[in-house]
Amino acid sequence: MATSALDQQRAHAAAGHAEPTGLWSWLTTVDHKRIGILYGSTAFLFFLIGGIEALLLRIQLGSPNNTFLSPETYNQLFTMHGTTMIFLAIMPLSAMFFNFMIPLQIGARDVAFPRLNAFSYWVFLLGGLFLNSSFLFGAAPDQGWYGYANLTSRQYSPGMNVDFWMLGLQILGIASLAAAVNFFVTILNLRAPGMKLMRMPMFTWMSFITQVLLLLAFPVITVALILLMFDRFFGTHFFVPAGGGDPLLWQHMFWIFGHPEVYILVLPGFGIVSEVLPVFSRKPLFGYAAMVFSGAFIAFLGFGVWSHHMFTTGMGPIADTFFSLTTMLIAVPTGVKIFNWLGTIWGGSIQYRVPMYFALGFIAMFIIGGLSGVMHSSPPADLQQNDSYFIVAHFHYVLFGGSIFALTAGGYYWWPKMFGRMLDETLGKVHFWLMLIGFNLTFFPMHILGLNGMPRRVYTYPEGLGFETLNRLETVGSLILALSFLVFLINIIKTWRGPRNAPADPWNGATLEWSIPSPPQEWNFAEVPVVHGRDPLWEAKRERGGPVPEPPRVSGQGIHLPNPSYWPLVAALGVAGVMVGVLAEPKVGPWGIMAGGLILFIGVFNWAFEPAG
């Protein structure tokens, strides 16, 4: 059943020849590093799209009573901006690093399930395309990224907008679950000899906790979306009051997923910063055990705070009190992390390279986001803050000031490892300052606007309420922010043209990924390393009394690699096909779903029976 191209590739892999190139090699790759690059480039593209959506929103809000965007377009854009940034940008950018770095950090040759890994990427790509194809139909989702019932019922949202959102999210959920199973097993099972759990790098630890969150939170939103789908397609009334349903049930189900989701969005960033700070302070992470346990505690508690998103719904004083107290409690381990980061740089010898700029910027911004979060935790105060721009400020400080700054730090930090080239330091610093200034100009005033009465998700505002000045300032800020990303793009393009000659260890790193060539060879490690403690590379350098020599590129003879395969892509097309079938059900009946199901079956069966290699 395999094509000759695939056979040739498999022969190459078995013989340890040079890595194959060309489109087909990318479509059939099961190499975690390539999959990481696929995730990263796709996610970055979606990030830029989400950013353009944001710029359009800011232009509309730059003046009162503006008619730059119609209300429907505005509502579609803010919904897509949120959905894109969360599901198509931040999560897959984290996935880029999970893919590329986790096996390297634990000393493994690949992930536990290379084809499942590839499958999760293709499903993600198709999910993102599905979601964005809605624009072509003029029916982009327009109900907000959390799609509250009963606005999402057929009656009040008759078009396909909600369907695109609902089904698109299901597709993306499958990608996340597949990836989570893979990384959970990889981290537990494929660690190099001596790499005990409490010796793992912090990025791997935080990513591990993130996989657990994904595994436990996504099934809940899956069910919620199924119930919504049944309401919209099969006439049930789960969330429709006329039939006895309860819109509040949606809110509970959504936020039981939604709150762990925000930790899914930020924990990988925590892990990245916990790696960058020690390297560029030239001392180990302060309080490793406290950092591991606080991360685990945050994840655990994260399942117990969800109704703090619902303080305005009148749940009653007992529920309000419970969730208020758990929310305050979760601030404690979060604070512990911030203090341990400070403890890491304290007394260090701080090297001001670009990754460190972004890591320090992350701490500064995340403190602000965390503090506004504490302000929300008190229901009587939150009754004013909720659904206002004060919340918009909070979550942008933790998601942009937090996650994006951290992911950018990771980008600059791991760029040489992934691509064999250094990014330009000067352009990087310009990027940082523009981003820091632009970010704060855009989002800090939102605290003020929110507390002074500007609600969120409004496509315009009238004159006379005083909102004009700060909105104009924010729009200017957003343009500066956009400019910072232009600088980043220029940096990437400029350095891409240069030679691929970055050293294995440009930063004096502590962890295993820096002990192999940049970029790594397909099998990662010529010899599987044996680990004796945390920061294994620093330990090795200490034993040698000096730097470790540049690792040579070897032939790879005798190292067995998993076979490439196109069945994950076929199976992914089947998944997408089923969802497209559901969307098209009113027009084509069950045949679309059955066609998708058939493709899925064929993909999975062949996947199961082909030799994994």
């Binding site: 199973v181 097993v185 099972n189 494929l190 595994l215 436990l216 006439g235 049930t236 290699g613």
Partner: protein, 211 residues
């Protein structure tokens, strides 16, 4: 190629557990949340039949509008299906034991019995669903119906997929392709099958026995 495949079969892992076994446990853990949400949803809505419309499976009742409904549930049938599903878990354990011992005939017998039980269970559910629809309780009738069909329907789908998986393995065993070295393939399916059974052990009393 087969030498390589052999080398992959039992790699050394940090936990000592085969990665595929760990993976199915992980998947099962995630699926527990899936069914927990569906069961919670059912529990939230199970009293909604009180305002009608439509029948309630368990007992004869008269709706506020004066409509008279007969009970439509058939406890004996569902109990039989439940018992068979429980036995099927035993059968698949026996099948696995035979596979690990290299007894192809025993493997085919017990795996076949497992499949039969699974098919009966699915058949029972199909019969029950059509019976309910015929009696007037559909997905759309009321929230009880919606929650009932969604919960048991998704469980039934999981059983069906499990049956297909087991049939595939039966065919492989028939062709002699499940020697003891490959018994892990069956073990993973068996774990999934046990999970599907355990979920039913929760659903059966919650939905059928507690009124």
């Amino acid at each position: 190629m087969s030498d390589h495949a052999h080398a992959i079969e039992h790699p050394e892992t940090s936990t000592g557990l085969d990665s595929r076994k760990l993976a199915i446990w992980t998947f099962i853990g995630s699926e527990c949340l899936f069914f927990a949400t569906l069961i919670s949803n059912y529990l939230v809505h199970k009293e909604t039949w009180l305002s009608g419309p439509g029948p309630f499976p368990h007992q004869e009742w008269v709706s506020p509008a004066g409509q008279h409904f007969e009970p439509i549930i058939e406890i004996p049938l569902v109990t039989l299906g439940t018992a068979l599903l429980l036995f099927s878990s035993l059968f698949v354990v026996l099948a696995l034991a035979n596979a690990q011992r290299g007894n192809r005939k025993g493997l085919l017998l017990w795996l076949g019995m497992t499949i039969m039980c699974g098919l009966f269970f699915v058949g029972m559910q199909v019969y029950e669903f059509t019976h309910f629809v015929h009696k007037g309780l559909t997905l759309k009738t009321n929230l009880y119906g919606a929650s009932f069909f969604t919960l048991t329907g998704f469980h039934g789908t999981h059983v069906t997929l499990g049956v297909i998986w087991l049939i595939t393995l039966w065919i492989e065993a028939f062709r002699g392709r499940i020697p003891p070295a490959k018994s892990l393939n069956l073990e993973i399916a068996a774990l999934y099958w046990h999970f599907v059974d355990v979920v039913w052990i929760v659903i059966f009393p919650v939905v059928y026995l507690i009124t």
